[in-house]
């Protein structure tokens, strides 16, 4: 074995390791992206777990307009909406509100709400101490459900944000959760 073959081997090893590393990095981008979203406020994602209410001072001099929006996955036979569309709140104040949902289907379904805040930068300052989006929400057929939401707005909220829109998109995850057979065309093997 010549010196050149040996140095070839060494170099190839490094390069292949580099490739594998970059392949791994592609997947590492998934958690890295979440961090990026948190710091930059991409897509207005809020925390997925409850935060503690730790505010002593309520800034009465400032009012933030909070708009609530609801969106249902197409084809999902539910009613879903906020009890109030708009709330005016002071930063630091603990606010309790709720969304109401009704499963109009005849069978029990599991829903998952995905929150999104606009402007995205506001997401960092919108703290939820209780939210129905933290868990999956099973609701029996033909039954209503109350989805409570308790939150406060961080007094650190940048001065140029006056309105925060909180939108929830409700997804039907019954099949995904229960692992039932898909109802899609592939699973059924029928061509309509």
């Amino acid at each position: 074995m010549t010196a050149s073959t040996q140095s070839n081997k060494k170099l190839i090893t490094y390069l292949v390791l580099g490739c594998l590393g970059m392949f791994g990095f592609g997947f590492a981008l998934v958690p890295l992206y979440d961090i990026m979203c948190d710091t930059l406020g991409i897509n207005g994602k809020t925390a997925t777990t409850a935060q503690a209410y730790d505010q002593q001072v309520i800034n009465k001099s400032r009012t933030i307009r909070i708009e609530f929006m609801a969106h249902i996955q197409p084809g999902m036979k539910w009613d879903f909406g906020p009890t109030t569309n708009v709330l005016e709140v002071h930063p630091g104040e603990l606010v309790k509100t709720a969304f109401v949902a009704k499963n109009n289907a005849s069978k029990r379904m599991i829903a998952q709400a995905i929150p999104s805040i606009s402007p995205g930068l506001g997401a960092k300052y919108f703290h939820k101490t209780e939210c129905f989006c933290f868990q999956q929400q099973p609701v029996d057929g033909q039954s209503p459900a109350d989805f409570p939401l308790v939150f406060f707005v961080d007094p650190q909220l940048p001065k140029d944000i006056h309105t925060l829109t909180l939108s929830y998109t409700l997804y039907d995850i019954t099949e995904k959760t229960l692992g039932e057979a898909l109802t899609g065309p592939q699973a059924q093997g029928v061509t309509p």
Binding site: N8, F25, V30, Y33, C37, T48, G120
Partner: protein, 544 residues
């Protein structure tokens, strides 16, 4: 393309048999090339593989081009005439994939195979068997991709950028084939890149120091590192698309806690360096040709090297300029805007260098020079529209319109493809041992350069007037301009047949080419006879 001359070969072989042994692995290629098809299937010779790559790329260029003709024919007038919107989307998608992964990238790999060993005074590529593999898996990748077009439900129709969830939840079953094809292309590119790096690191002739390497070698070295850095990321992205579609993961599905925008971040993290993968070797080619026909040294060699390196580094921090409209906070918008604008500095340095090299030279305009000069002018126009696109507020108006289509075709067709044409005209005599018809080449140049501008320049206006990209039908106000664009497109497509005829003619025979057909050319590749012997430098040459 090569018709290795047995006489010349033999002499070189017998003289240097000893040196070959000690100089590199025994590749089993000391004998004459075997005859027939097996020569090409089993070859480990860098010139044979380079030839295979170049022919493959030319084939793909015509297949991808045929798809562009379908697109332009449908867009010739408003209304749906020839194809259904669904098929139209498949055409735009596969046209993009084939041109990027099938035409431009393999052409550059082919050029690297042919030229890098000759330019650095090496006998062959460092890893010849891997070289064989990296080429021969490529045709299968494209067979798979093309065959998916004939599947029930059609081939990929989500654009070459395959944004989720269009490519996951809403795509056909052929997506699996698409993913598989991309994987193979990626593996092929990575193997090619490893080979180039190892060759450049370990097989340089004595005295060939880093800062003496020809710019083509430098640009390819940087490109190879870019490939190794980003092709695996693309592989990761397509893998996630595959598992999202078929195995129930939710990387890009909001319902399962994923995010469709994340796909774009991952894709463009690959995609932007990919753009430079397709242009850096072009810089190398033009930096070889312009000095040769100006009969004057390249103005600033080292600044060119640094410019290439800085473009490569910057390419990793600008990806989000493809996604200004996805909704980003202003800090991010500003950051990506500034970084993107910054790329104009090293690019400017390159253009100024080329112009300064021509200044007070002794210019002549043989076909390689014609294409190189057209490259500089038209690539710069593409650079200008790129600079305009970098302006975030204005990008909200340009994004996803024909303005963008015009921009990237200026940098890829009159940029990358023109540089490949220039390279072919420059080195064809070396490859084949024959001179080609200068008249035909000049016809090819003038037809191409006129029609390509008729094809792409009016697209700027279409975009500014409000025509989105990737649409099969449009409002009647766009009709006249689309008509002109289509005529330019057909003319450009037909012009390329001249190139095909010229290359075939040149391979078959013609006036015998001297070792150095261009009086101003510099570099080790001109010191060996034309056609280049089967093994380039069996004894390493001395580099002053």
């Amino acid at each position: 393309m090569t018709t290795a001359n047995p006489q010349t070969n033999e002499t070189v072989e017998t003289i240097h048999e000893e040196t070959v042994e000690t100089n590199h692995d025994d590749h089993g290629h000391h004998e004459q090339p075997p005859k027939g098809i097996m020569r090409w299937i089993l070859t480990t010779n860098h010139k044979d593989i380079g030839t295979l790559y170049l022919w493959f790329s030319l084939t793909m260029f015509f297949i991808g081009g045929a798809m562009a003709m379908v697109i332009r024919a449908e867009l010739f007038e408003p209304g749906l005439q020839l194809v259904e919107p669904h098929f139209f989307n498949q055409m735009t998608t596969v046209h993009g994939l084939i041109m990027v992964f099938g035409a431009v990238m393999p052409a550059f790999t082919g050029l690297a195979n042919w030229l890098v060993p000759m330019m650095i005074g090496a006998p062959d590529m460092a890893l010849p068997r891997m070289n064989n593999w990296s080429f021969w898996i490529l045709p299968f990748a494209f067979l798979i991709l093309l065959s998916s077009l004939f599947m029930e439900g059609g081939g990929p129709d989500f654009g070459w950028t395959f944004y989720a969830p269009l490519s996951t939840k809403y795509s056909g079953d052929s997506t699996a084939l698409f993913v598989f094809a991309i994987h193979i292309m990626g593996i092929s590119s990575i193997m090619g890149a490893i080979n180039v790096i190892v060759t450049i690191f370990n097989l340089r002739a004595p005295g060939m120091t880093w800062m003496k390497m020809p710019l083509f070698v430098w640009t390819w070295l940087v490109t190879a590192f870019l490939l190794i850095a980003v092709m695996p990321v693309l592989a990761g992205a397509v893998t996630m698309v595959l598992t999202d579609k078929f195995f129930g993961t939710s990387f890009f599905d909001a319902a399962g806690g994923g995010d469709p925008v994340m796909f774009q971040h991952i894709f463009w993290f690959f995609g932007h360096p990919e753009v430079y993968i397709m242009i850096l070797p072009a810089f190398g080619i033009v930096s070889a040709i312009i000095p040769a026909f100006s009969r004057k040294k390249l103005f600033g060699y080292s600044s060119m090297v640094y410019a290439v390196a800085s473009i490569a580094i910057l390419s990793f921090v600008v990806w989000a300029h493809h996604m200004f409209t996805t909704g980003m906070p202003k800090v991010a918008l500003l950051f990506f805007m500034y970084c993107t604008m910054l790329i104009a500095v090293p690019t400017g340095v390159k253009v100024f260098n080329w112009v300064a090299t021509m200044w007070k030279g002794s210019l002549s305009f043989e076909p390689p020079m014609l294409f190189a000069v057209a490259f500089v002018v038209l690539f710069t126009i593409g650079g200008f529209s790129g600079l305009m696109l970098a302006m975030t507020p204005a990008d909200f108006q340009y994004h996803d319109t024909y303005f963008v289509v015009a921009h990237f075709h200026y940098v890829l067709v009159t940029g990358a493809i023109f540089s490949i044409m220039a390279a072919a005209y420059y080195w064809l005599p070396k490859w084949t041992g024959h001179m080609y018809s200068m008249t035909l080449a000049k016809w090819h140049f003038w037809c191409s350069v006129i029609s390509v501008n008729v094809l792409f320049f009016p697209m700027h206006f279409l975009g500014l007037a409000g025509m989105p990209r990737r649409i099969p039908d449009y409002n009647i106000q766009f009709a006249n301009v689309n008509e002109i664009v289509s005529i330019g497109g057909f003319a450009f497509g037909l012009s390329q047949l001249l190139f095909l005829a010229l290359v075939i003619k040149c391979c078959r025979g013609g006036e015998k080419a001297p070792a150095k057909p261009w009086d101003g050319a510099e570099g080790l590749e001109w010191e060996i006879p034309s056609p280049a012997p089967y093994h380039s430098f069996t004894t390493p040459p001395e580099v002053k």
